[in-house]
Symmetry: C2
Subunit: 451 residues, 2 copies
């Protein structure tokens, strides 16, 4: 007999884990709704032609491919088979693959439904994605993404609102965060000014180490990446950038004045900061030039959220991009979006034990079952309790009292109702508070009033 298991890198979610995950998804969902975002869903399987080539060569290898049903060998010669080239074979024997992220399916969706969509299109999407990555702690082959994007609008008001959304979500979670912001145009400007356009990643990586390794070592690292002395000299004020966001912007304005694109990025930053300053933000918002996520992809603002009280990577990220849909033949659709990392948020909430008690509680009230007579008496009564919206169970059989109370304990049911011969005669319900141990006889109206 086989011992059952699940594929490595995948997970079952227990009732308690599901309650926690639903709390996370519902919170994110509610905040998206508050800002007018609407949900869409796309199929788990996309045509491989939609997915291939969108995530680089490495990404192509990480796609889960679905073997064609029926004759998967059709159109493949014996010679090709004997070549045993898994990649080539995969493309021929598989038409479909599991989605790798929510962005490419979203781009496909926008192009395919362009005539039904009202732009600007504010959509959110909460669905699993699959990657044939090597599983490791905190990295799974199936995990959820929670993306929100506004496409078809260049307005920076969208950036402002996305910052508000991130802020509101983490305020609701009770997670103290820093929202870091950068701008691709400023990074481009820096590279332009020092004449090292292709070294932008090396530069941000080195700058990021200033606190850890000190200025001399940062400069040494830049030298090892073959930046010229002149470039390194020009970089000094930028490496040493500190102070408030406004102070940082002032330095950038001065140092990067000669770069038109940098000035555009600075103006965008100022626009956003000007508005955020007048809004009640809970989180810190920090201009951080070392933020270099999605450099091939983002064209304006870049966001990243760090939890302040837990050592963990970024728990949310995003940015502005041009031409989301160009690869599918529809130009001119720019947008800006964010993605909440549900699995990491789950870890943070667990570590800080921040789940509200009522998000974890399922059944509110358990009726003990003493036998057929009591059962018959209780069924219509329980029906009334449920009609009042109280999540209620009747233990389905007359098991030993200890077993029934143990059931209430492990399910964390806060109240147990005991109705035996006496209670039936008196028309009362003996209500036990499982937390305090207190027990008192109540009428059904009083019982309903308790919740």
């Amino acid at each position: 007999m086989q011992k059952p298991s699940i594929p490595k890198g995948t997970r079952d979610f227990s009732p308690e884990e599901m309650a926690k995950r639903n709390y996370i998804f519902n919170t994110i969902r509610e905040v998206y709704h508050l800002y007018g975002f609407q949900q869409i869903e796309t199929p788990a399987m996309e045509n491989l032609s939609t997915l291939m080539g969108k995530y680089g060569e490495e990404g192509d290898k990480l796609l889960f491919k679905i073997l064609n049903s029926g004759d998967c060998f059709s159109g493949i010669t014996d010679e090709e088979l004997l070549e045993r080239n898994a990649v080539k074979f995969g493309v021929k024997a598989c038409e479909k693959g599991l989605r790798y992220d929510l962005t490419v399916p979203f781009a496909r969706f926008v192009v395919q439904h362009r005539n039904e969509i009202t732009f600007p299109f504010k959509r959110y999407q909460i669905q699993p994605v699959w990657r044939a990555d090597r599983p490791q702690r905190g990295r799974y082959r199936e995990f959820y993404q929670c993306d929100g994007d506004v496409v078809g609008s260049d307005s920076l008001v969208n950036e402002v609102e996305l910052i508000q959304i991130m802020d509101e979500v983490f305020r609701r979670f009770g997670i103290r965060v820093c929202i870091k912001m950068n701008n691709r145009k400023i990074l481009s400007g820096i590279a332009e000014i020092i004449g090292e356009a292709d070294k932008i990643v090396d530069i941000t990586v080195a700058i990021d180490k200033l606190d850890k390794i000190g200025l001399d070592n940062v400069n040494e690292e830049l030298r090892s990446k073959e930046l010229s002395e002149d470039a390194i000299a020009r970089l000094q004020p930028i490496i040493m950038l500190k102070g408030t966001n406004r102070e940082k912007l002032a330095v950038l304005k001065q140092e990067l004045a000669a770069s038109e694109i940098a000035m555009k990025g600075v103006a965008e930053m100022e626009f956003i900061l000007d508005r955020i300053d007048k809004l009640p933000l809970n989180a810190e918002l920090e201009l951080d030039l070392t933020l270099a996520r999605g450099l091939n992809y983002y064209t304006g603002a870049i966001f990243e959220v760090k939890a302040l009280d837990v050592q963990i990577g970024s728990i949310t990220g995003g940015g502005r991009y041009d031409n989301l849909t160009g690869v599918f033949g529809m130009d001119g659709v720019s947008g800006v979006g964010i993605s909440f990392g549900a699995d990491r948020i789950f870890d943070v909430l667990n570590q800080l034990d921040l789940y509200p008690a009522d998000s974890l509680q399922t059944t509110q009230l358990l009726f003990v079952n003493f036998g057929e007579k009591e059962e018959n008496y209780l069924l219509p009564l329980i029906s009334k309790v449920r009609a009042a919206g109280i999540r209620t169970e009747l233990y389905p059989e007359a098991a030993k009292m200890k077993k029934q109370m143990g059931y209430a304990d492990t399910k964390k049911i806060p109240f147990v109702a005991i109705v035996g011969e006496n209670e039936m005669n008196e028309g009362k319900i003996n209500l036990k508070n499982m937390l305090t141990g207190e027990q008192s006889p109540v009428t059904i109206e009083e019982l309903i009033g308790q919740f």
Copy 2:
């Protein structure tokens, strides 16, 4: 440039469709919670060894198999490759497959987590399943199932509560339904009594046609299935079974008295009916001997729900089974469950136009954008409106009024707020009701009070 599309038999869901689907899932979810069911989730991918052989030979062919990442040819000889046997190859080149239903993964879950589960285990699960069926109207390759089961309890109270759950779900939807109930033990008894144990499906199929083709033709059909004249004679009272559930039970009690198993089935029916009679049921509950779903699987009660006002197959079904987990080496786990057909319920709600208005409405209030000055004035104001829980948008740019109003129209936003120079000076908001066209100046407090 490729024209994007999705695999046949799969669907994108638009914001409006998602709102409708969420209404369906949330309603089902809430009722499950009301009865103490807890949610679990299992991975989309299961090991093929978990899935294969569980759905018959036909089912094995309908499994979507996932090509092993890395070298999918390892362990396969050249000779085997040149055989081009897709089924054999699939099993060797694919370790994983997409789940085909929620029952087998649930059985696997129960066995794998037996030590963490408190029995009786009331779980529900709402997730997509995938089948490589030929797509046709109303049949998809990706669709959701909404299963609820109680395992580890033989008590018929569970059947009673599942009937209440089905009743409550369709009461909330406003769909008039008939809940049909049969019992596998009664069917076994009939077959036993007439000495034709293996013809039970033929018999139920023939009985089912009575209204359409008349008694003579039903008997003719039974003869064509090689039932003996004696057997057909003994079947007459059962074929002609009608009247109330109690009247039907009385006939069965008399005709099937010699069959111990039939009498057990009748007693189960009576137990359930006795209890349901004392409960406020909205739907009809009808004893229907022609119900023959899952005959290889169900061992007691069998349920099916039919919509009364729409021509469509069953929209929910279920029953009691023994030995859910025997195939995974854990015996003695019986249970009873139901499965709501979300896609068909979606069709019924659409046809009858039964969605509550507030289930479809997303954004409640749109602020028109006249330009940077107004935008800056509005952002903090809108922040207050949102803090009051009102789903609010600011149109992200100063587009033409017509375009902004069109946006509100297509998104079905019921209120539009207009704040220009005058309104800013007076500290008022011009609030337009998009349904009536009425427009009036209000303060922010008055505006918030409106919702």
